[in-house]
């Protein structure tokens, strides 16, 4: 019991403290590839610190939904993070829910963010919400199919079991079904974290925004919570991608050296995936908004193919 609590606290801290760094590293790497020096990778911490200390401007038209949304988003995202295995094969809160709970906790957060954006009655918020919901409706099935592909092989939707089932089989991730599902999930990751080619996190053009348009009315500590949640969500999705498909680095045995090497390998995996995101963002232009559904349909088809090939080839 104490071990579980300790595990949950440690993983919570890991997510809270490391996720801004991951966002910062992506930003710095992008700047370098664009021949800019860019901000330090620690900039997101400074931004959060600055926002937390600032006052807030709350639109007169805002209802309590606007006030509740940052906290709902923050807590659901963090909770979702505790359902995913990071360093250990077992997730701290795995007895409370499986990968379905994880996906829909994130969905709950998104729902509240979209509500809050509509709540202020600004034109940009409405545009952001409608775009976010369109994309979510398409990304979610692709995400579920990809996750089910792994779940089917493992015989469980508990991400810990899914990871544990694969620990012995180092090369499983090269199976066609796994590769297809991995690609589908990677596309979903780009869409869910608001990355190019779906959304542009660095743009100042309100008319083209998706995620940023939803949070335009937020400021100060509430904005900090939302920005922080976005970083955590990105880390959770990267973790899912890393640990569901390449789980053999996870620590299953206790012992300091095993845990340390598992932690180091976990971070390495995250960095490699983040590097892939950076490459995609640098080499691509943002898609026309009406092309995004096509991209997500591709992800969906990949997910479906992954599932079919699991049935055909038994996922090996």
């Amino acid at each position: 019991m104490t071990a579980t609590v300790l595990h949950a606290v440690l993983q919570g801290l890991l997510l809270l403290l490391l996720s801004p760094l991951l966002s910062g590293l992506i930003r710095t790497a992008k700047a370098r590839l664009q021949t800019r020096r860019g901000p330090s990778p620690l900039q997101p911490y400074r931004d959060l610190g600055k926002l937390l200390r600032k006052g807030m401007v709350i639109p007169e038209t805002a209802s309590p939904v606007f006030a509740a949304a940052p906290f709902v988003v923050f807590s659901t995202t963090l909770l979702a993070g505790l359902l995913a295995p990071t360093v250990f094969a077992a997730a701290p809160l795995s007895q409370f829910g499986g990968v379905l709970a994880l996906v829909y906790l994130l969905g709950l957060g998104r729902f509240f963010l979209a509500l809050a954006a509509l709540d202020t009655g600004s034109a940009f918020g409405g545009m952001g919400s409608s775009r976010e919901m369109t994309i979510a409706a398409l990304a979610e099935p692709a995400l579920m199919l990809a996750v089910f592909t792994v779940a089917l092989t493992a015989g469980s939707t508990d991400p810990s079991r899914m990871a544990q089932a694969a620990i012995g089989q180092s090369w499983r991730f090269l199976a066609p079904s796994q590769m297809l599902a991995f690609t589908a999930l990677f596309v979903v990751l780009l869409a869910e974290t608001g990355r190019i080619p779906v959304d542009n996190p660095a743009t100042h053009l309100e008319l083209t925004m998706i995620h940023e348009a939803m949070i335009l009315e937020y400021s100060g500590p509430w904005l900090a919570l939302i920005e922080w949640s976005a970083s955590i969500k990105q880390m959770v999705l990267l973790t899912l991608l890393a640990n569901l498909f390449i789980p053999f680095t996870l620590a299953s045995a206790p012992g300091v050296p095993a845990i340390l090497s598992a932690a180091a390998l976990y971070l390495l995996k995250l960095l490699l995936l983040a590097a892939a995101v950076v490459l995609v963002e640098t080499t691509n232009a943002k898609m026309r908004l009406f092309r995004v559904p096509e991209l997500l349909s591709v992800a969906f088809v990949l997910g479906a193919l992954a599932l079919i090939s699991t049935f055909l080839f038994g996922g090996r």
Binding site: M127, H204, L205, T208, T282, N284
Partner: protein, 529 residues
């Protein structure tokens, strides 16, 4: 000072009845027709449009004190004549109105409304006579009238600054954007009516940076106007400065010395290059292809530094004087400058290749924001945007000024009219500009850079045209005597081109608006004046 070329206006003047009967005056730069009243304006406009003319500018002048009349001017351009046709209509102060030609020539739309706002002269039969230059909550004042003092203080404005037309339909809602925008751009208000993402109707409201520049020119000493002209639009300081100098030189009947005439070609093309390079990068940014913008920004900076090395001014300011160039271009600096231009060209070509080879970027730009050639012709779209939509116009080739009289610029023209081709016009023009600079530098003669500006007759008028990097710039001046200007009319190409954006956005979705707008990259300051 003879200029070669055919003379379409000579035969045209004889063919059009009211023009044939009018008084006429010819200079190497202009054909002037003086009409006693504006009654025949629509007939003349119809005849001119039939014969392939384009209405480049419409403006007015308050001569009540001297000649007891308002004058209304139509500036008409024809590709087959090096000169411009300037038709002057007398408008009686007792009946301050003139027949509108906006239905026949939509190009005149904004400029007729501007005349209404600034002079209180009514454009009779205008299909959309609402205000354009003054916002709707301005009191009924007409700032360009001579009896409106330049230091007049108005009471605080009250009420709605804009009255918009309604767009009604199921699921239609408005997205107001601006006038203050994110990023460092000038103010302008965009009022979208959208149904979901597709834009149904866009209404523009500009003139937030109206500074009364044309009013400010009045009573300015002749040689001082060039400084004000340089700040009409910050990115076109050389283009506007040059147009202003040329207008004074035409009025005085002189030409700048050969060194200045060729030197001005080099400088005008430098301005074109640095702006086009920046625009290409900005278009890439707006579709999220940031790496291309990094390179474009770097190249622009390289160009600005070259400008500074050659002239001492990054933005080519303070170089012009009526009568030539303030200082000659330094031959010792020219050789290393040309060498650096070579390496600029190499890098520039690789930037264009980077964008053209990016499928995801081209996918965003192709067929986005299409302005069909027919609409471009009706609206009188000029410059980069016009050439991307089949309007084969270029003042440098059709109405050559200064050193361009010996050069034959190659003018890229496309008929597709989308964002991609507005970018391609720019990318090809930069290469042409580079070769123009080399050609000009090769024949740059030694000698003085400045001729003295002789006395200009009081009341003399002159028009000048320059192909700035955005397109056709027109300056029209009247000398007031005692060494001061009486009126200066400035027409930035942006004034012609803003209505094109309303057409180009049709059938597009709202998130594509920024890149469409950027592909035109029109000047707010130059339009608002």
């Amino acid at each position: 000072m003879s200029r070669p070329g055919s003379a379409a206006f000579d035969s045209l003047m004889a063919e059009v009845r009211p023009l044939a009967a009018s008084a006429c005056e010819k200079t190497p730069w202009e054909v002037r027709a003086f009409l006693p009243g504006a009654d025949d304006r629509q007939e003349i406009a119809a005849a001119l449009l039939d014969r392939g003319c384009r209405f480049a500018s419409v403006f007015a002048e308050d001569r009540r004190a001297q000649e007891r009349a308002y004058y209304l001017y139509d500036v008409v351009e024809h590709r087959d004549d090096h000169r411009y046709l300037v038709i002057r209509y007398r408008v009686a102060p007792e009946q301050p109105r003139f027949p509108s030609i906006s239905l026949q020539a939509p190009a005149a739309n904004w400029m007729e409304r501007e005349t209404q706002d600034w002079f209180g002269i009514e454009a009779e039969g205008h299909p959309n006579p609402r205000r354009v230059a003054l916002h709707d909550h301005w009191p009924g004042v007409h700032p360009l009238l001579k009896d409106f003092p330049i230091d007049a203080v108005l009471p605080p404005l009250e009420g709605d600054p804009h009255i918009f037309r309604q767009t009604i339909g199921e699921g239609v809602f408005y997205v107001p954007v601006g006038p203050v925008h994110a990023g460092i751009i000038e103010p302008g208000h965009f009022h979208f009516a959208v149904a979901g993402e597709p834009v149904i109707y866009l209404q523009l409201r500009l003139f937030y940076t109206h500074k009364g520049v044309e009013k400010r020119f009045e009573n300015l000493p002749l040689t001082h106007g060039v400084f004000l002209a340089e700040s009409v639009s910050g990115d076109t300081s050389f283009g506007h400065g040059l147009a202003h100098c040329l207008a004074l030189e035409h009025a005085a009947g002189i030409e700048a010395p050969p060194h200045a005439r060729i030197g001005r070609v080099i400088l005008l093309e430098l301005e074109r290059i640095y702006n086009h390079a920046a625009d290409i990068g900005a278009i890439a940014t707006d579709v999220g292809f940031v790496i291309a913008n990094s390179h474009a920004t770097r190249l622009r900076e390289q160009m600005l530094r070259l400008n500074e090395e050659l002239t001492g001014s990054r933005l080519l300011r303070g170089l012009l004087r009526p009568g030539g160039l303030r200082r000659p271009l330094d031959a010792a600096r020219l050789a290393p400058f040309l060498e650096k231009l070579e390496s600029f060209e190499r890098e520039y070509r690789s930037l264009v290749r980077l964008i053209e080879d990016s499928d995801s970027t081209r996918d965003r730009l192709e067929t986005t924001g299409t302005l069909p050639p027919a609409k471009a012709k009706d609206l009188g779209i000029v410059g980069v945007a016009g050439r991307a939509s089949g309007q084969d116009l270029d003042v440098r080739r059709d109405h050559p000024f200064d050193g361009y009289q010996g050069l034959q610029p190659r003018v890229p023209v496309f008929s597709q009219g989308d964002v991609l081709h507005r970018m391609r016009v720019r990318s090809e023009e930069v290469l042409e500009s580079l070769s123009l600079i080399r050609a000009a530098a090769a024949e740059l003669p030694e000698g003085p850079s400045l001729s003295p500006l002789p006395e200009i007759a009081p009341g003399a008028t002159a028009l000048s045209a320059v192909e700035g990097w955005r397109g056709e710039i027109l300056h029209w001046i009247r000398n007031g005597g005692n060494g001061r200007l009486d009126r200066c009319r400035i027409k930035d190409p942006s004034l012609n081109n803003w209505p094109a954006i309303v057409e180009a956005i049709q059938g597009n979705i709202i998130p594509d608006f920024p890149v469409i707008n950027k592909s035109f990259n029109l000047s707010y300051s130059g339009t608002d004046r």
